[in-house]
């Protein structure tokens, strides 16, 4: 088959193939290593702390005595940020996608879409600074009792950050809806509003929902912006003007302090990391499943 023919050339080609294969293998090894590292560290942690206390405890105080390791306040903080940012990014992002896909002329779309995507490329530490220097002072104008660190500012900047994830992916899904469907609805006397909301939106729903889930997963894993904006105070509170701590912010807190290897504080990093990883992995897999399971096939 091979025109070179010689055994040496064949062997060289096989060797090259293996080099490339090993590069691809690195990605699989990365996943395995992540799981291994997180599970191993967590096992060490759960030798000292009971899983029941970790999962059901409402007090997270790993450094200050009396120590307690209930992860619920951290999960609560993460959920507060996630729900708050979703309340901003989902309506704004969806409406933006509808505008860009159905109303804007192509030239406007070609300018606005990449402009919005700049938001996704700005480092998250910059959003943290933005929250401290502008968002929190604005909140304090309306609610003077708000402290420097508060959940609301964190949720707002994370919401802004994930707008382009919602709008770009949703716009892709809406643009993929064929014009035949739109024209059929117009033929039945539908207005542009009805076509957008009753035809295009439902037809693109699987892509839109996949975009929502991905954006939420990104909000859960967001680190620097929420660390700077929302604070380091683990507590279960319904008041967004109070400081909280997310799982990621806790990991930063331990990361910048000198916690010795083998201490419970060091091991707790991996337990919290595993919890975070499990949550985002579930959502990412769910997003993929929604997209493939409910994909509308158009010819």
């Amino acid at each position: 088959m091979t025109s070179g023919g010689s055994e040496l050339a064949d062997r060289k080609n096989a060797a090259i193939r293996y080099v490339f294969f090993s590069c691809a293998l690195v990605t699989v090894l990365t996943t395995l290593a992540i799981i291994l590292v997180l599970v191993q560290g967590s096992v060490e942690f759960f030798r000292h702390v009971s899983i029941v206390e970790y999962v059901t405890g409402t007090e997270w105080s790993p450094v200050i005595r009396p120590q307690s390791y209930g992860v619920l306040p951290l999960i609560w903080g993460t959920l507060l940020i996630t729900v708050g940012s979703a309340a901003i990014a989902i309506p704004v992002g969806t409406a933006t996608a509808i505008y860009l896909s159905e109303y804007a002329d192509p030239q406007v779309r070609k300018t606005i879409k990449p402009t919005l995507e700049i938001l996704a490329g700005i480092p998250t530490i910059v959003y943290g600074f933005f929250a401290l220097s502008l968002i929190t002072p604005i909140i304090q104008l309306f609610f003077p009792e708000t402290g420097t660190f508060n959940a609301a500012a964190g949720a707002i900047v994370v919401g802004i950050m994930i707008i382009p994830m919602v709008s770009s992916l949703s716009e892709d899904a809406m643009s993929a809806v064929p014009d035949d469907l739109r024209n059929a609805a117009y033929g039945l006397g539908a207005t542009k509003f009805e076509v957008s909301t009753s035809v295009v939106f439902p037809a693109s729903l699987s892509g839109v929902i996949a975009a929502y889930i991905l954006a939420l997963s990104r909000a859960i894993g967001e680190t620097m912006a929420v660390t700077l904006a929302a604070g380091m105070h683990p507590q279960i509170t319904g008041n967004p003007l109070e400081p909280i701590q997310t799982m990621t912010a806790y990991m930063v807190q331990i990361g910048i302090s000198d916690v010795s290897v083998g201490s419970i504080g060091y091991q707790s990093l991996f337990a919290v990391g595993l919890t975070l990883f499990a949550m985002t992995l579930t959502m990412n897999l769910f997003s993929m499943w929604v997209r493939s399971r409910y994909r509308e096939e158009y010819q």
């Binding site: 193939r17 590069c23 992540i34 409406a95 998250t124 207005t191 009805e194 894993g221 990361g255």
Partner: protein, 301 residues
């Protein structure tokens, strides 16, 4: 059939009402589009305003300082020089690892791997890795590179961690670039007796190079702004000397900005903003290079 009252979209009697709904809806959608744009403008304006007057030549060429006076004109001079050098070294190292691994993996998936379960497994795995929070990569780097490989909190441990973080994005963008090379060119090369490796080396990779470079530079511009992974690996918040070797401790621009942003003195907010302007300028330059390469060399545009 002749009247439209029987259609799913209602009759003509409420056409005025429908027009109003339509107009309100467009207005709401347009206003939502503006929300993102206004936020972007506000962010940039805020950073520029806060940093005004604080970016001096000394800021780029001196190590950081604890006291604010040193940052002011007439002071002894203080800034983010070690962090800038740290970031440049970090990204240069990351680029070397990423190009080798990313292009290698993409070439395997696009040019060698048959359509098989293994290939779809690897691709699904890459898609999943792209969604893993960056701080989790930091934990991975801490446990594997810093501890298990005993590299310590060094430049190379940071670079390897960032490599794993951006690898999924580099692989996917490289795959797209390889896919854009027309098959006829491969067939022509095979026709004159080239081996598969010769086809890849002499035909596919040169044609795909602009696309590969664009994707890689964009990924590296993401890596340069990452804080959480290098923080977990143990990058210093502030260092007074620039790193001088693979094993030396390092700082990076986002770490120094983080340190400044958390300091209580109000002046450090301005200094943090100045650091952000330097970081965003470098990011902007990298993006401009990537877009230039795409527009200049990409046969599709």
């Amino acid at each position: 059939m002749s009247t439209d009252t029987g259609t799913p979209f209602g009759g003509a009697e409420d056409i005025e009402r429908k027009r109003t709904i339509g107009r309100v809806f467009v207005a709401v959608c347009f206003a939502s589009t503006l929300v993102g744009i206004v936020a972007l403008v506000a962010l940039v304006a805020d950073v520029l305003y806060e940093s005004w007057g604080w970016i001096t030549w000394e800021f780029l060429t001196y190590p950081p300082s604890q006291s604010v006076e040193n940052y002011l004109p007439g002071g002894r001079g203080a800034g983010m020089y070690p962090a800038i050098v740290g970031s440049v070294f970090l990204i240069a190292l990351t680029a070397v690892f990423t190009i080798f691994l990313g292009v290698g993996a993409a070439v395997y998936l696009e040019e060698y791997a048959p359509e098989s379960r293994l290939k779809s497994f690897i691709e699904a795995n890459i898609a999943n890795l792209a969604g893993v929070p960056s701080i989790v990569y930091g934990l991975l780097g801490l446990a594997i590179f810093v501890r298990a490989f005993q590299l310590g909190s060094s430049l190379i441990a940071g670079a390897l961690t960032l490599t794993l973080l951006i690898l999924p994005i580099v692989i996917v963008s490289t795959q797209e670039a390889l896919r854009a090379v027309p098959d006829s060119q491969r067939q022509a090369a095979y026709g004159v007796g080239a081996t598969q490796w010769q086809v890849i080396r002499d035909v596919v990779l040169p044609r795909a190079l602009p696309g590969i470079m664009t994707g890689t530079i964009l990924s590296l511009s993401r890596a340069i702004g990452e804080t959480a992974p290098i923080l977990m690996v143990g990058a210093a918040t502030s260092l007074f000397v620039a790193p001088d070797g693979l094993r030396s401790p390092f700082s990076a621009m986002p770490m120094t900005i983080f340190e400044w942003a958390t300091l209580p003195e109000a002046e450090f907010q301005h200094i943090a903003a100045a650091g952000i302007v330097v970081l965003l300028t470098i990011l902007l330059a990298m993006n401009a290079v990537a877009i230039f390469i795409r527009n200049r060399y990409d046969p599709r545009s």
